[in-house]
Symmetry: C2
Subunit: 197 residues, 2 copies
């Protein structure tokens, strides 16, 4: 159900087509949420049917056309309401830690490679998130600029602070995952030395 609200969040800033939204989910927002076209287009149709969006046919070139979605009052209300709800926390289901618990079954080289992949993955994400923070602080984020332009000036600090808070949390998580995997690599080396002797 979060996809719906992720879409609403973007559409509070400005009207967009399915394609625009899909781009957002591949670039900027993809660092927090991801969705493929095949999920976005049908969901937009459903949201329109539910009265959260209004779809407007816009001409595009001589024969082409596109559908621009505008958030409705009901959509805004649904979004605000979701923002005030407390999320339920689903039960744990974490393949990485499941495997870690049984690492004695893996070949030592494979165990090492898997921990290195974990590190590489989080380094990559962290770099993305660090860049996002730089954009927020430097005022070079396009979508944030548009968002701020629609909000009263005294709100600006607040809006920016929450975005930074979000990415700081993701960066801290990435740091923690990297540190954990590194301690795993150290453990593997240690166990290896112990069994050699």
């Amino acid at each position: 159900m979060s996809l719906r609200y992720a879409l609403l969040a973007l559409l509070t800033v400005e009207p967009m087509t399915g394609y625009d939204l899909s781009k957002q989910f591949q670039s900027s927002v993809s660092h927090v949420w991801h969705a493929p076209d095949s999920q976005i287009y049908p969901e937009l149709r459903r949201m329109e049917k539910d009265g959260l969006l209004e779809g407007v046919e816009v001409a595009w070139g001589p024969r082409g056309k596109k559908r621009e979605y505008h958030i409705t009052d009901a959509g805004l209300e649904a979004f605000r309401s979701w923002m005030n709800e407390t999320l339920s926390y689903p039960p744990e289901r974490d393949p990485v830690h499941l495997k870690a618990a049984y690492l004695e079954w893996a070949e030592p080289d494979s165990a090492r490679a898997q921990l290195e992949a974990h590190i590489a993955n989080y380094i990559e994400r962290r770099d993305d998130w660090l860049q996002k923070v730089a954009e927020i602080e430097g005022g070079t984020s396009i979508i944030l600029g548009k968002r701020l332009a629609k909000a009263p000036v005294p709100e600006h600090a607040r809006i920016q602070a929450f975005k930074k808070f979000t990415y700081d949390g993701l960066i801290a998580r990435a740091d923690q995952e990297i540190a954990w995997a590194e301690s795993g690599l150290a453990l593997l080396s240690e166990l290896n030395r112990a069994s050699d002797s």
Copy 2:
């Protein structure tokens, strides 16, 4: 697909019924993986059909019976092979951070309550995980005891070390999430003070 391997992991220790496995997923293993009965029973049937398990009908009382699943050589091989594979990392999809990024839309009281729920959730999980570590180190974990009994003595340290490594990682993650949410609460107070003045 991880459910299948979580089941195999448990069945490497000893044969169990669907009910036994379901109990494991509600208690000990649930801290790393969760699954309801409705998912476990059909999956066991499929695994038997695929030759990973052998189901043995066992009498239970005068009229009752139960099905005890034993891992086969093919099952053991499938598990080892999975343990040597590198997992693919799915794209980010995190409702908590999605909401955090748009926290200016929430009522201040609601924002605070949500961060507190986040903290409460991770405190609860961390307590479970801390207890698991205590059980591992104190040698009071039943399933770990059985696992060790089946492994050569020189392997014991290795097996225990990986379990502890796993839970240490989960605990560190919980600590990080708690610290993040607390910094969010501090931020809310700060913004509140700023707008009051």
